[in-house]
Symmetry: C2
Subunit: 305 residues, 2 copies
């Protein structure tokens, strides 16, 4: 008997191109087997690099991290370093996007006979390019974000190494729903000692007395985070990678979140309470300006064509 209720989700696919199972296709047609352990066990790693005005930003760094993480999870891809780089470029070319959000994924795959032994699985490589997207929308970027500090703990390093970029996001999702209940726009999770860790897809920096602080442990070592630390040196701003107590964040002069999906974005309220004067601050603006200037620098970028 056919169930009465059919679920045919209205899928709002962004325009884009994917590479999966050895072929390029429209993003709306890119599908993975429901038996792939990348889905059924979230046994996968990924990386996201962005393209701005047809130039990849720090492509080498993202590829290095991705391939390191593939190895750390005992995954293997049967190609050299050039193949994923060329595949990403081809996805962007075929998409026609000048500014793009480009993701590469390695999944455990499935094993012949559907063995549960991950050593027997044939690992898969997926890539896609869709329009550049922002963690924060235009108004949020202009006014700064209202950030909720959740009591949900980020999955600790003793369970899953947060420096291996992964899809274990149920902690972030729970925190995000909490943030919405508190009329905030996004969320950051804490560790078991109530220190800030990271948010869904971003790291955080606080600015106090002209110096910046970012959590040193328990978070992804984001490429944009590393970039921001490099910008500190160029701007002559001191930086500390150390614990950042959640209950001290409200005392900072400024704060900003950073992500490949949007760069540097000001936080102007913590749990609804204005940070400093409640406006995006001057130090955040200096970082933002220099960050986007770097997108023309051939040392930091790789042309798509």
């Amino acid at each position: 008997m056919q169930p009465e209720v059919k679920i045919e989700p209205e899928r709002g696919f962004p325009p884009g191109v994917a590479y999966i199972d050895g072929d390029f296709c429209d993003i709306s047609e890119a599908r993975i087997s429901i038996l792939d352990f990348g889905f059924l066990h979230s046994d996968a790693t990924y990386d996201v690099v962005h393209v701005w005005r047809r130039r990849f930003f720090r492509l080498d760094r993202h590829l290095d991290r991705f391939l390191d993480n593939v190895a750390k999870l005992n995954l293997a891809l049967p190609f050299d370093r050039e193949t994923p780089a060329e595949t990403l470029k081809e996805c962007v070319r075929r998409s026609g996007h000048d500014d793009a959000y480009v993701e590469m994924i390695c999944t455990r795959g499935t094993a012949p006979g559907y063995s549960r032994d991950p050593r027997e699985a044939v690992n898969g490589f997926i890539a896609f390019a869709i329009p550049f997207s922002w963690v924060a929308n235009e108004e949020q970027r202009r006014l700064g974000l209202n950030l909720f500090i959740s009591t949900v703990n980020r999955i600790p390093s003793r369970s899953v190494d947060p420096t291996i970029k992964n899809y274990h996001w149920l902690d972030f999702i729970k925190g995000t729903f909490e943030a919405y209940e508190h009329h905030a726009e996004t969320v950051v999770l804490v560790d078991e000692d109530a220190n800030i860790t990271e948010g869904p897809g971003f790291n955080l920096f606080a600015v106090t007395g002209g110096r910046v602080t970012t959590p040193g442990q328990g978070t992804l070592k984001g490429i944009t985070r590393a970039t921001t630390l490099e910008l500190c040196a160029e701007l002559g701003i001191g930086a500390d990678e150390c614990p950042l107590a959640a209950d001290r964040l409200g005392a900072a002069d400024e704060a900003f979140i950073i992500s490949t999906a949007g760069g540097i974005m000001a936080v102007t309220r913590i749990d609804g309470i204005p940070l400093g004067d409640g406006k995006p601050g001057p130090v955040t603006a200096r970082f933002t300006d220099l960050y986007w200037q770097k997108h023309d620098d051939p040392d930091w970028t790789t042309p798509v064509d």
Copy 2:
């Protein structure tokens, strides 16, 4: 430019039938969009029920838990309780399997315009039936398993509620690779206090002095776990749900793991060291016998047809 190396995994699909996007299809054709947040954020919950001799075992319990977990994750499915039940039955009927492993999944899906806001996503329902599978193979079930106790911590409840069945398995995968390095067959993870939690897809019981103990916190409250506790009452065996120190497991008389995928399976070695006399024990055998007897009981089973 087309990359030179094509990856076309040799997919060893088991025979089976899936229900996805409102239609039934062969399991080998069942695919989910790579943009579904069930994949990209592992934002999904699932349940597994088994069919033995064309009867579902404790189907109501599994459906109850699944629908509870859907609600707990702020997911929603546009149907009543009968629809998933009928869909699962139809998957089994179409598969032709007398003994089946039957999974139901609810994923976050995607949102129109590919919004990052989970509240805007259209949630999806997937189901599939494949041949009944066992956590342990035939030889392992006969001789008992060699279980490795990993120092990897199961993702704690403060991060992700383990009673909401989820695909966050990278901790299990890491532990599984450790187990293989130690020539063990499977793994159990500990919590931060070095108490046993659970393994990949199973709960654990220890037998000491005629009583059984199973971890009371930090694990999935498995249906087979609940079933085993009910069997305790019937067998007149005392049961404790309480912390089970990892370093005490080796002193137990017997141990067994339990899962929908295989029922009750003896553990006879811990990290290679024989438990008791190193053979499946008499208490484990009593549970196993009664467990399989219950598969004919109309109170515990639901016919497929």
